[in-house]
């Protein structure tokens, strides 16, 4: 598991570019999904986030789709990767740690994997919402504010 010390800017750049140029979870899935729409008055990003839990209460599938910049594309896609197979509580913890990181607070790097590529977001404060748009949306779904 990489920690913040081991991750170089080159690696972070490669991770973001990889998910930006070939996102794995950018699609509108068929079937029963919890979903939520998220957009911002401050930017262009305008996305839907989709989540499906299995009978054991674990995330079976996660996806997102919409108009998004490089930062929101990569951060949304990496989030979907991270959520697969996680319980609601685990998902909530991952999002909480990520938000701590984004806002330069102490955080547990061990659960964030590739999402650590966004650790410098606060340097470009105007991009915080790009790096968190899907994360906030999933958080709303987990609170039960979704529509099926």
């Amino acid at each position: 598991m990489p920690t913040s010390i081991e991750l170089t800017p080159e690696m972070m750049r490669a991770i973001i570019m990889d998910h930006y140029s070939s996102p794995r979870h950018k699609l509108t899935p068929e079937g029963d999904y919890l979903s939520i729409h998220s957009s911002s008055v401050n930017c262009i990003d305008d996305i839907d986030v989709y989540l499906r839990f299995n009978d054991e209460g674990k995330v079976e599938d996660a996806a997102w789709n919409g108009t998004a910049c490089a930062i929101s594309t990569a951060s949304s896609d990496i989030l979907c990767d991270l959520l697969l197979g996680k319980s609601k509580e685990e998902a909530e913890n991952i999002i909480a740690q990520y938000n701590h990181m984004i806002h330069e607070e102490p955080y547990d790097a061990s659960v964030l994997e590739e999402a650590l590529a966004f650790m410098n977001t606060s340097k470009q404060a105007a991009r915080i919402h790009c790096a968190t748009i899907a994360w906030d949306a999933v958080s709303e779904i987990l609170k039960g504010h979704s529509h099926e």
Binding site: C43, A70, R127
Partner: protein
């Protein structure tokens, strides 16, 4: 010719050497808002420091002096746009001005048989109030087709206007593409069909000479803050007879002549009828100074300077071979572009990391499909204090814009 270097000595945002991301600020977002010269800031400060009083609310000298000053401001603003002072209504800005026409005039007179004509290039402030009028009266919203470059032409208005058209509401200069419409020609055609023309002057009044009488405009809306004035102050011009027919959007103190508890109310005549409550007095005083200031530079000089900068920017940007420009032929000082293969917002963040303020934005679906072929663009917009060096900084930055994630790591 405009001496940009000298002019910048009047602006604290320049002489204070404001920085962004540790770099000298390059301000290319003038279509969004503009910097304020000392004279405007002083007028605002003066009001609070030595002239404070309400207007129309007292029998003492300070208040009398302020009433006189506000009247002078109204005269000055009226002469700037070729109107009479009784036709100048103070509002909080373009949005409030257009809403006042929509709700005070549109809602009162339009019916389900009528039609409002807009274009696909309008700012939300000149679309949503009319949607509301349509929703409440049942009237139709129609669109004047733009030509292949996205320009509004008199010819195209003529193609769609009919006796059902009651209002033609269009931007004089569009905020994304920067084409200057033929206001006089549009008004003439609108009037031939008995329609009123509402001109959104937010992007035109600060940049080109305006004459509502010569052009025969029915209503004109503009904002102070895009004209070196304070935020929160704007103007609605309306032909006096139309203002008489327009209902106030807000009622209250300062706009009634008399009322009793039986519900008999008499409103003051325009423009006072529309100015309920205490007005943005500091804003009005600041706007007057701003108009004095831009007029001293000369509207023709301002327009020529921006036109030159626009041509220079388009030429230099295209020379890099790294950008797509979407409005190379438009007249106003607005360049809408993308750095090739970089999403607009990523480009704007990258420019921010170089100290350059540009706006990235998404445009309404129709216009982007028809004219832009992209979901989002970056906009650089100029004013009389913008220099060729500012444009050069932008051009240098876009040359390395492919490395846009640098903004994220360095």
């Amino acid at each position: 010719m405009i001496d940009v270097k000298k002019i910048r000595q009047d602006f604290p945002m320049f002489y204070n050497h404001v920085q962004m991301q540790g770099k000298p600020l390059v301000w290319l977002d003038n279509a969004s808002t503009t910097f304020k010269p000392d004279c405007v800031i002083e007028a605002v400060t003066e009001y609070y420091a030595t002239e404070t009083s309400n207007s129309h609310r007292g029998d003492y000298d300070l208040c009398y002096a302020m009433d006189k000053k506000i009247a002078e401001c109204r005269e000055r603003i009226a002469s700037f746009i070729g109107a009479d002072s009784k036709e100048v209504v103070f509002t909080s800005g373009t949005t409030a001005s257009i809403n006042l026409v929509a709700f005070g005039y549109g809602l009162k007179y339009l019916t389900a048989d009528d039609e409002i004509l807009l274009t696909q290039a309008e700012h939300a402030s000149n679309v949503l109030p009319w949607f509301k009028v349509s929703e409440m009266t049942g009237c139709k919203i129609g669109y004047i087709p733009l030509d292949k470059d996205g320009r509004l032409t008199v010819e195209n208005l003529r193609k769609v206007i009919s006796s059902k058209t009651k209002i033609v509401a269009v931007a004089h200069v569009t905020n994304v593409l920067g084409y200057i419409a033929d206001a006089k020609g549009l008004a003439k055609v609108a009037h031939e069909f008995g329609a009123k023309i509402v001109l959104d002057g937010a992007q035109s009044v600060p940049h080109i000479k305006t004459n509502v009488k010569d052009w025969d405009i029915d209503f004109l809306a503009f904002s102070g803050h895009k004209l070196c004035g304070p935020t929160g102050i704007g103007v609605l011009y309306g032909k006096f007879d139309l203002l008489v027919k327009t209902d106030p959007f807000m009622t209250g103190g300062g706009m009634n002549a008399k009322f009793d508890m039986c519900g008999d109310v008499g409103y003051l005549a325009p423009p006072m009828k529309f100015e309920a409550g205490t007005q943005n007095i500091a804003g009005i005083l600041g706007l007057k100074k701003a108009i004095d200031y831009v007029d001293s530079i000369g509207m023709d000089n301002i327009e020529a300077h921006e036109r030159e900068l626009k041509a220079y920017a388009v030429e230099k940007l295209l020379q890099t071979g790294k950008v797509t420009v979407y409005n190379a032929n438009s007249e106003a000082g607005i360049v809408t572009f993308n750095i090739n293969d970089v999403f607009a917002q990523d480009a704007a963040t990258y420019l921010n990391s170089k100290g350059i303020a540009c706006r990235s934005g998404q445009h309404c679906a129709k216009i982007l499909n028809d004219f832009l072929g992209t979901v989002a663009t970056v906009r650089a917009s100029f004013y009389f204090y913008t220099s060729k060096e500012d444009v050069d900084a932008l051009v240098e930055a876009v040359k390395t814009g492919g490395n846009f994630l640098d903004a994220y790591f360095n």
